[in-house]
């Protein structure tokens, strides 16, 4: 299928693309730039009570007593709940089922022990937020300190055990991959090894978590407003945890101030707030503080691994093995154990590697759980593979770009089967590499680098040719359904309503979905409203994560529109007394000869229902649940140039060029925005960000003073370009772009710093690469 055919509707000629592919300004923005949008904390209900949590100050301890009596006597305090009060609430769920997985019983408030700093122990309910916070200090908790398990490799090897019933700290072990890795490595000319650390990161959505719950005792209905990425999955899980029928529970996600995976979860606080509202028959609200957010919202990454890569003297890669210790934290959140398996899936990178093996040892530690953070397992894989390719290039004295090029599957080898068991849908890796090299002037750069080195300057060039896995995903590969849903209606007045099961939170799908719908229906962009994030209005959906909203949810909408148009065509033919097959549809109008009807006029007729064919239902709406047959695989090349200040170790970006291919582009402006944001989060991991627990399990980086995020002045001008290889997996040809920047950028940045320091014999550096470490290398070598 070529692209024109792809965007055709089955019953008509090609639509004029007025909006798709254009830099359309976002329809979300006016309410946001005026300060009139509503995040959870902006929703005000009369008589709302406020909740605050007493949280553990120890990483691992036995609770010997909790005294709430003083707090309960404080003016304005309504209730205090502890672990023994909430035993009827079901455990916080983990959706991943892996063979042999050990699942700790994760109660919503700590029972006899605490397992991480920030573990909720008691919920204080008061008339206002200040009173609730004051009362936290009036709850006395006595602890018996227990030894904390902090280092993941040590956790795997023995020492103190967190859950005695499990016998050890290993949650699961898994080996995966295809090909005979031992023979492949044995037959290689060289085998290179490297220990690689993917430090823990905090997602830090600018809006933390927040929950407002209101129980209606007469109707026996509960409404929960939560800052989540998965309203429907949350509703199902909360219904099970709280024990309320799912059809009596409504979850609403108002404006969501960023997620990055941290809100792709079901949290103890969400269930507790719903339950408390039911106990007190009052609205209750909890707004997470930043300190709580860093302590008790999921972290990302947290892997320590050992890569072995085999190659021939000419640079051909023969095999790759990755033995990884995954730091899961104390409990399993929704997808905690699944993240390392995504790393395993992506270990082929964009290369032909005949034998690949991953050995995962996933361990419990006395820390907050890790889970999906932007990229979720794929940045780890990409970092491993790209760093390994650099090691090969350095060993063989081949340019890093050429080692990569040599191992690419050719454009005509797609679908490309990897030794990790995936089938990459489409790709042209060389085209993206060529383009990025041309933009940055690669050959000239290497010359410039030589000259700089002769002058004693430390100039480094880093390159990453990544591929990632998006549009998650086929249901067979997902714990709770991988499809997405859409309903499209044309109302009697001709306005178009789209209900999507995806739940965007900043990505801009209210606009990009409206662009697709407006083009397909031939109506104005302003005639389309996209509604999401309310289980009381929208049919069941999966949510927004894994760069899936447009590729899976957008496709569901696209196909629903085709169904709607089939019906509209029938009604139009009936009214025009024409043959349905001979009608044409263009620019929103059904015509035959000189007579015609707009689709909006058809919608009115469909609702009045006096002039519709006898075998046709009144109304004009269609629903579709789209199940993708495969994932999609966006890819690209990022090239970075850095210069290091020899006096201070400071790392300065000189150029950043990214050529990304996310398939067909609906709105280039939004795609650029996703890439910018992803790349900068990647810079955060490469240079600044790190969750640090000390050896007692105390969280050292518990505020934004200590957890360093990229700021405007840290960032170079990002030079973006694209290639466009449509995906055959969906009729829109789109692949997804939400995580690409975060996946592609990190190895390029670290590679550039390593390259700059290669005169000192540096082959690899651990992240975040701080000026201090760089300075030590330069000065140690002097």
């Amino acid at each position: 299928m070529n692209e024109d055919q792809r965007l055709q509707t089955p019953d008509s000629g090609p639509q004029t693309s007025r909006y798709v592919g254009q830099r359309v300004k976002r329809t979300e923005d006016p309410r946001l730039i005026k300060g009139l949008a509503h995040y959870v904390d902006d929703i005000r209900l009369p008589d709302t009570l406020h909740v605050a949590f007493v949280r553990s100050v120890y990483a691992h301890a036995r609770i010997t007593s909790i005294d709430t009596s003083v707090a309960l006597k404080a003016p304005g305090v309504v209730a205090v709940y502890t672990g023994k009060d909430v035993t009827k609430i079901g455990p916080v769920p983990c959706a991943s089922a892996l063979p042999g997985l050990k699942v700790p019983d994760y109660r919503v408030l700590a029972q006899d022990k605490v397992y991480f700093v920030g573990h909720p122990i008691a919920a204080v309910v008061a008339r206002d937020a200040y009173t609730a916070r004051d009362a936290l200090d009036l709850v006395t908790v006595d602890y018996d300190d227990l030894p904390a398990v902090v280092d993941v490799e040590a956790a795997a090897k023995g020492g103190p055990v967190i859950y005695e019933t499990f016998g050890d700290n290993i949650a699961y072990k898994l080996t995966a991959g295809e090909g005979d890795i031992d023979s492949a490595l044995a037959a290689s000319d060289h085998v290179l090894k490297q220990r690689i650390v993917h430090q823990r990161l905090a997602p830090i959505a600018m809006e933390g978590r927040g929950v407002l719950a209101r129980y209606f005792p007469g109707e026996e209905e509960l409404t929960v407003w939560s800052s989540t990425q998965i309203p429907h999955l949350l509703r199902t899980q909360l219904a099970l945890m709280i024990g309320i029928p799912e059809n009596k529970l409504r979850v609403i996600t108002p404006e969501v101030g960023g997620g990055f995976g941290s809100k792709l979860n079901v949290y103890a606080e969400e269930a507790l707030l719903g339950w408390i509202s039911m106990q007190l028959a009052k609205p209750v609200k909890w707004i997470e503080g930043r300190r709580e957010n860093i302590q008790s919202t999921i972290h990302g990454r947290g892997q320590v691994g050992y890569v072995e890569i085999g190659c021939k003297n000419d640079g051909t890669i023969t095999g790759l093995r990755y033995d990884v210790f995954a730091d899961l934290g104390a409990y399993l959140q929704l997808l905690t154990p699944a993240i390392p398996t995504l790393t395993g899936l992506m270990l082929s990178g964009s290369y032909k590697i005949p034998a690949i093996q991953i050995n995962v040892t996933a361990c419990f530690t006395n820390k907050m759980s890790t889970d999906a953070y932007r990229g979720a397992g794929r940045p780890e894989a990409t970092y491993v593979v790209e760093r390994a390719m650099d090691l090969v290039a350095a060993k063989l004295g081949i340019d890093p770009a050429e080692v990569r090029r040599k191992n690419f599957p050719a454009a005509d080898e797609f679908p490309f089967h990897t030794a990790t068991g995936l089938d990459y849908d489409s790709g042209n890796y060389e085209a993206a590499l060529d383009k990025a090299q041309a933009i940055i002037g690669y050959a000239g750069l290497r010359e410039e680098q030589k000259k700089a080195r002769d002058e004693g300057r430390l100039l480094g060039i880093g390159i990453s040719t990544y591929v990632e896995i998006c549009a998650l995903g086929p249901s067979q590969a997902m714990p709770a359904g991988g499809w997405e849903s859409a309903t499209v209606r044309i109302e009697p007045t001709g306005k178009v309503t789209v209900l999507t099961g995806a739940s965007p939170h900043g990505q801009g799908q209210e606009t990009s979905f409206a662009q697709i719908a407006a083009d397909e229906l031939g109506v104005g962009l302003n005639d389309v409203t996209v509604i999401h994030g309310d289980t009381g209005i929208v049919q069941y959906g999966i949510g927004t994560f894994g760069s899936r909203a447009t590729a899976v949810g957008g496709t569901a909408m696209f196909i629903a529109i085709q169904k709607l148009k089939e019906k509209a065509n029938k009604i139009a033919a009936h009214i025009l007394k024409a043959d349905a097959a001979s009608l044409t549809f263009a620019n929103g109008r059904y015509s035959e000869g000189t007579s015609s009807l707009t689709i909006q006029e058809v919608a009115l007729a469909a609702h009045i229902a006096r002039e519709i064919p006898p075998d046709t239902e009144p109304g004009l709406s269609a629903t579709y649940f789209f199940e993708p047959k495969n994932f999609t695989f966006p890819f690209g090349t990022h090239i970075v140039v850095v210069e290091i200040d020899k006096e201070t170790g400071d790392i300065k970006f000189l150029r950043y060029v990214a050529v990304d291919d996310c398939g067909k582009v609906i709105n280039p402006m939004l795609v650029d925005g996703q890439l910018h944001g992803g790349i900068v989060q990647s810079m955060g991991q490469a240079l600044f960000e790190e969750i640090v627990y000390d050896d007692q399990g105390q969280l050292v980086t518990g505020s934004l003073m200590d957890y360093a995020l990229p700021r405007a002045s840290h960032i170079p001008w990002l030079e973006l370009d694209r290639t466009e290889t449509p995906s055959p997996v969906n009729p829109l040809g789109v692949k997804g772009v939400g995580e690409a920047g975060t996946i592609g950028a990190t190895p390029a940045i670290v590679g550039a710093i390593v390259d700059a320091l290669s005169p000192f014999g540096v082959k690899h550096l651990d992240m975040p690469v701080k000026p201090e470490a760089v300075w030590k290398i330069i000065n140690g070598a002097r």
Binding site: K25, R26, E28, D29, P30, L32, I33, K34, G35, L36, A37, H38, Y39, D41, D42, R44, Y130, I204, A205, M206, E207, G208, E255, V256, G257, G258, F260, I287, G289, R290, R291, H505, G506, Q507, G508, M669, L670, D672, G673, L675, H676, G677, G678, I679, V680, Q681, S703, L704, M705, L709, P710, R711, A712, S713, I715, W717, L718, G741
Partner: protein, 156 residues
């Protein structure tokens, strides 16, 4: 215990009796119902709560309401004039300077100060001026372009 304060917010005078410890951001949000100003860190590090007090961009999460007694305060809700977007709001819309929108009101308020002080700032000056405001979505590049847009538009 409570203390009387009198101040102007977005051109409207207000008198209230407030707890001495009430933060200005909570006064705006909870007493006046102006929820456009957001809270992102409670420690002056993220800038989501930036407003303008007597001509100075400040972080309202670390200022007490009583300290604003007698002040003239402008919040994001007060930026439009005669139903028209402020050039900075327009710039953020035109140049896709926001995604989730949570940092946006603070970012816009801080950015208005940049062009108030320097009518045609360089990209480096804009980045320096935005250093006190965190955005986790945009990577800042479109925000820099939004400020450039507003500077040009304001100069006309």
């Amino acid at each position: 215990m409570k203390k009387a304060i009198s101040l102007s917010v977005n051109g409207v005078s207000h008198q209230h009796e407030v707890e001495p410890r009430l933060l200005l951001v909570h006064y705006l949000r909870d007493v006046l119902g102006l929820t456009g100003t957001h809270i992102g860190c409670e420690t002056s590090l993220c800038g989501a709560c930036t407003i303008v007090v007597d001509g100075q961009a400040i972080k309202s999460c670390t200022m007490l309401a009583v300290q604003a007694d007698g002040a003239e305060v402008t919040t994001i809700e007060g930026l439009m004039k005669d139903g028209q977007l402020h050039p900075m709001q327009e710039g953020f819309w035109e140049r896709h300077g926001l995604q989730c929108g949570y940092c946006t009101p603070g970012m816009i308020m801080a950015a208005t100060q940049i062009i108030d002080r320097n009518a045609s700032p360089s990209r480096e000056e804009i980045r320096h001026g935005l250093e006190g405001n965190l955005c986790r979505c945009t990577g800042y590049q479109h925000i820099v372009e939004a400020v450039e847009y507003a500077a040009k538009k304001s100069a006309v």
